[in-house]
Symmetry: C2
């Protein structure tokens, strides 16, 4: 990625502005909200008029974090000097807010997702960085803007959620050094671990147990598949949303290379796919009109969950035979 | 803890020795074996005659690590210049090897478990450090001994396993800075994550599902208990050892403060206990003649698993009412 501005230059642009409107990506996660709110707090502390513009509610699992300054009011700042999107760099990642973003006298972008074309008037995109929160940390640090305990917690949470707790291959030496600095700035590691990982609802726990119990291991142990119906979820008082992490547990089974999990979504079936090391689930998802990455992909299938699971199992078995 | 030697002084003692025998603790885990083998590799690389003395086999879940130099042969080095225990500082943590340890002309100890009395002729015990592997890293770094990729992997694995993947409250800024240096020395984060976390046997997965499905949430959602019988485990081809991580999953349920899991052990019942934030499970374990820490404890109970679970549930309910 060739950037047209350094973080320091973007810092200078923000310092010159009176008002800044911040845009995290649609379906905001820990890193989107952590980096956006971290930036909001730093800019507010140096006297800027600032807000974070959302198009949805913040998901419940990260709602324990000290978020502030967010709104769905597109007119919160009528004529912002700067609009800045963080943790995203494409109009389709801010679908209902593109017009508001374009209103910025200067439009800026800080992201860590691959986008060779850049976005906005000034952009800094580093796909070698594990989390946008790392980039916001570096920005605040370079500009010597104040960083209070809440800001440290927000950026740390962004890093932890985007690296799977320092487990994914995107975790670098720099990720750990920034985490060290954030701990020194006041992060309580145990508090965040309890809130993020020791907070699984009874319904999620029971749904996961049910789905793992009926998993089908096939293709000499290299494939794993499971599914759930609305009726089964109803029985334990759970909803399809309570099955978010199950796919990782299927992949985590020893010997399994490709895992799939299917659940009802409206009158269709939503399938999630994971590969452990060499498998390519993007190809499989594409067959059903879906997409994603080699190691994590998804698609939507017509028909019943049972039928869809059968087709999916056959395709995975084929893929593992090659 | 007042130490009678610095890590540097212990380094000098090791440099003067011709032969060194290393003692990790009984029931060796990732940190015991990681720190012991890391030290072994560093000392071997500077020309020392060296070995790691064990009294058991290395557990399967860490067997993917590049261990070397270990033996159960107590006469592997007849008259060692130095014997050194790592990740332990008490004779009862090397129960069948105390005599071999005492044979050292100089006896040394490097540990991070609390032991106000020290152990051996020279000891460095720092209970503020998350893992013994951190101390061995610092020792190698201070002495400028060589550290190859395998050594980095061993020490990183020791740190990861003893901090629950940088999640426990023992994780410090220094833990992260050492992890950063180890990644730069060649650790592949993804490889270790896959080996440690994406390697759960089919039997473990099914046992966990079964035990979570029958969990009993009580005391206004603050207590969680489950148990398993030998017959139930038999049905899915699992053994009591396949239930090691279930207790953490019970604690992780939202709202649960104290969790208990019981399973058969010989003709008795083994109970594991966890508290999430303010609970004290050590007290409960002590009632049954067991022990541990406030947040993690265990005990052995006479009678059937069902009966033991009933007594345990009552005691937890009492404890949560206070």
């Amino acid at each position: 990625m060739k950037n047209n501005a350094s973080l320091h230059e973007i810092g200078k642009i923000l310092e010159k502005a009176d008002s800044v409107l911040i845009f995290p990506h649609v379906s905001p996660d820990g890193d989107a909200m952590g980096s956006a709110t971290g930036l909001y707090k730093a800019l507010t502390s140096i006297g800027k008029k600032c807000a974070i513009l959302l198009e949805e509610d913040i998901p419940e699992y990260i709602s324990f974090l000290p978020f502030e300054g967010y709104t769905k009011d597109q007119n919160i700042i009528e004529e912002p000097d700067v609009t800045i999107c963080v943790d995203c760099s494409e109009p389709n990642r801010i679908p209902s807010r593109v017009e508001a973003f374009e209103k910025g006298k200067t439009r800026v972008c800080i992201d860590h997702h691959i986008n060779p074309e850049g976005y906005g008037d000034y952009y800094y995109i580093d796909e070698g960085t594990a989390a946008a929160s790392e980039l916001i940390y570096t920005l605040i640090d370079e500009m010597t803007w104040p960083m209070d305990e809440d800001t440290a917690v927000l950026l740390y949470a962004g890093i932890v959620t985007d690296t799977g707790g320092f487990r994914y291959s995107n975790t670098t030496a720099s990720t750990h050094r920034i985490a060290a600095n954030l701990i020194e700035a006041g992060v309580n590691v145990n508090d965040i671990s309890v809130a993020l990982y020791q907070n699984v609802s009874r319904e999620q726990t029971l749904a996961e147990a049910m789905i793992l119990e009926k998993m089908d291991i096939f293709a000499d142990g290299k494939g794993a598949i499971s599914y759930v119906t609305l009726e089964e979820l109803d029985e334990i008082g759970a909803s399809p949303d309570d099955t978010e992490n199950v796919i990782d547990r299927l992949r985590d089974v020893k010997g399994v290379e490709i895992a799939a999990f299917l659940k009802p979504k409206g009158n269709k079936v939503k399938a999630s796919l994971r590969a452990k090391t060499y498998g390519d689930v993007q190809k499989i998802a594409t067959t059903f009109g879906g997409g994603g990455h080699k190691k994590a992909a998804g698609c939507t299938i017509d028909g019943s969950v049972e039928k869809a699971a059968e087709s999916m199992k056959n395709l995975i078995a084929d893929s593992l035979e090659k």
